[in-house]
């Protein structure tokens, strides 16, 4: 079974998840404050989370290709399919951009002209944090990403059809992959600053881009492991053995530790220096988001660290799937607490302005949906997840599951950790 087909039952489930997500988005919109803060922040949260998973899959694939990695060839098509999610990801982000130009949301404090006029700090940052940069930065950078994702995918599929013994396709892929690494590395940082870090418009951290990208990385690995486990349970990917899962598990373990390292590095430097402009970020989260703040470390570091430390837990479906689910939701919570406090602060200020002008009062400080994720947030997440998987599995069914002319296929088939 080298050709994947989405079965009807799964299709129904995924469409059901998308329907649930849409319903949740509509309900959130209907029962929201005047600025629809909860709706827009949920939308941004999920759009950023899943687009980032697509980006990281592309980046990791480029890194593996450049490093001459042989082990992952049998699961390469899953990475490829994931990287193609950048195309719908661009559409998701376009909605945020349109909303920004149309004044439909108050996600970003710096996009509010009145606020910037009265704020020297935002004025100082306005050469980067402005609507043009956000729009064209997103379009150009994501355009480049999509170009590379398509390039690598096209070459890989062509190799299946007309691969030659001199591995011409693979050599070209290696050049494109190597070219993408510095481009992807730098542009992803700029994207993280624009999309995520700038919701706390006054605050910045030089470590933030790494920290957010690694959060994406771990989520992508977790979701890839779950996808592979699902495909294997359906009888596909027979070539993938426990050895490949073991290596994916090692990546999950290693990058959970790396994430904790970055999280702590950012926290400790800010805690040590104790400068008010910087500590405000953690003060807000420790005071108002204690469950997420400490839960973040428990779900994304302590649990994967202790569970995946052993050799055998990385080789068993039960533990690997359990940890993948924990860190997938864990990093989704991580992005929740990256985005919500800043957006909430911006909305409070905007609503206060509105109150002065006699407009309606909001209730943006209600805890559910703002301080901790509520059922609507979970439903929205499942909706986006359903859409993500639907697209990705659809892409997966468009090519053979095992790239038969890849020069590293033999190595991957005999992989032994």
């Amino acid at each position: 079974m080298n050709q994947y087909q989405i079965d009807g039952k799964l299709k129904t489930v995924l469409l059901g998840m998308m329907g649930l997500g849409l319903l949740c988005l509509i309900l959130t919109f209907a029962y929201d404050d005047a600025l629809h803060t909860r709706f827009w922040s949920n939308y941004l949260h999920n759009a950023v989370f899943f687009t980032g998973i697509g980006f990281v899959s592309l980046f990791v694939m480029a890194a593996f290709t450049t490093a001459w990695a042989g082990w992952y060839t049998v699961v390469k098509r899953v990475f490829e399919a994931y990287s193609l999610f950048l195309i719908p990801g661009l559409i998701l982000m376009l909605v945020v951009i349109v909303g920004m130009w149309g004044g439909l949301h108050h996600l970003y404090h710096w996009a509010d002209d009145k606020a910037v006029a009265a704020d020297p700090i935002l004025q100082g940052k306005s050469s980067f944090l402005n609507k043009n940069w956000y729009t064209f930065g997103t379009l150009i950078i994501m355009g480049i990403w999509i170009f590379f994702a398509n390039k690598l995918r096209t070459l890989s599929v062509e190799e299946d059809m007309s691969g030659t013994p001199d591995y011409n396709h693979h050599k070209r892929m290696r050049i494109w992959a190597a070219a993408f690494l510095p481009i992807g590395g730098f542009t992803s940082a700029a994207i993280v600053w624009q999309w995520v870090m700038s919701v706390d418009a006054h605050w910045y951290s030089t470590l933030y881009a790494w920290y957010a990208t690694v959060s994406w990385f771990v989520s992508a690995l977790a979701l890839i492991i779950l996808t592979i486990a699902y495909l294997k349970s359906k009888g596909y990917l027979e070539e993938v053995t426990v050895e490949h899962l073991h290596d994916l598990g090692k990546y999950l373990f290693a990058f959970s530790v790396f994430w904790a390292y970055l999280w702590f590095s950012q926290y400790m430097l800010i805690w040590y220096a104790n400068i008010g402009e910087e500590t405000v970020y953690f003060r807000e989260r420790i005071d108002n988001y204690p469950v997420l703040f400490y839960g973040n470390l428990l779900l994304n570091f302590v649990l994967p660290f202790l569970i995946l430390m052993r050799n055998d837990t990385k080789r068993k479906y039960g533990t690997l799937i359990f940890v993948s689910l924990v860190v997938l939701f864990g990093h989704w919570f991580d992005f929740f607490q990256m985005i919500k406090p800043g957006v909430l602060h911006t909305a409070h200020e905007a609503l206060a302005h509105g109150a002065e002008e006699g407009a309606h009062h909001g209730h943006a400080s209600a805890p559910i949906g703002f301080l901790i994720p509520g059922l609507l947030e979970i439903g929205t997440m499942l909706g986006f997840l359903g859409g993500f998987l639907y697209f990705v599995l659809n892409r997966l069914s468009k090519a053979a599951l095992v790239p038969k002319n890849d020069p590293y296929l033999e190595e991957s088939l005999h992989h032994h950790t």
Binding site: F264, Y267, M268, W271, Y272, N274, M309, R310, N311, H416
Partner: protein, 186 residues
């Protein structure tokens, strides 16, 4: 019970009579080890110049417990560092650094991490050398110098074996593809 313990005791002190075969290729060696196990031959040891994938399973070796040693030493290291700093900064010599509380957990984390790694690494090295009987001044006789270069060796101990049993081992070694068959007392 008494007898087996006694044999073990004499074996440890007495010099070993070893019959060994040298192979040119690790795959041939691996086949030979599989065959020896299938024939219920008692392998003394296998020597290779580099790690051979699948050899551990072929020889039926149980999984190393070195990583458990590493975890225990790491935990000891973490506790040592954390409790020591706690004692120093709250009981023995409390000093305020940068307006922080005496018991400042984030500041303790880097040192705790470092001592965890240090204890774990040193503990594993010491445990490994102890279990392998390696220590400064200990000499370990080698069967053949070429097993550190390009030869793969399968060795049987022949203390007290009859000539018939030795002949059987010899024919096994030659049948399984050994390039040379030698006997040596170490």
């Amino acid at each position: 019970m008494f007898e087996s313990a006694n044999i073990h005791h004499t074996m440890a002190n007495q010099s070993k009579e070893v019959l060994y075969g040298l192979y040119d290729d690790e795959q041939v060696l691996l086949q030979a080890v599989h065959k020896a196990k299938a024939d219920h031959l008692d392998i003394m040891d296998v020597y290779t110049p580099f790690p051979v994938h699948g050899l551990d399973e072929a020889m039926g070796l149980s999984e190393s417990r070195l990583h458990q040693v590493g975890f225990i030493f790491g935990a000891i290291g973490a506790l040592t560092a954390f409790l020591f700093m706690t004692w120093v900064f709250t009981r023995d010599w409390p000093i305020i650094f940068g307006g922080k509380p005496y018991w400042s957990i984030p500041a303790f984390i880097p040192i705790t991490f470092e001592l965890t790694v240090l204890f774990s690494a040193i503990g594993m090295v010491v445990a490994y050398y102890t279990v392998c009987g390696l220590a400064p001044g200990v000499t370990n006789p080698t069967l053949d110098d070429r097993i550190t270069d390009d030869k793969f060796c399968l060795a049987f101990q022949t203390n007290g074996a009859s000539q018939q049993e030795i002949d059987k081992l010899k024919s096994f070694l030659s049948a399984s593809g050994a390039e040379e068959i030698n006997a040596k007392i170490i």
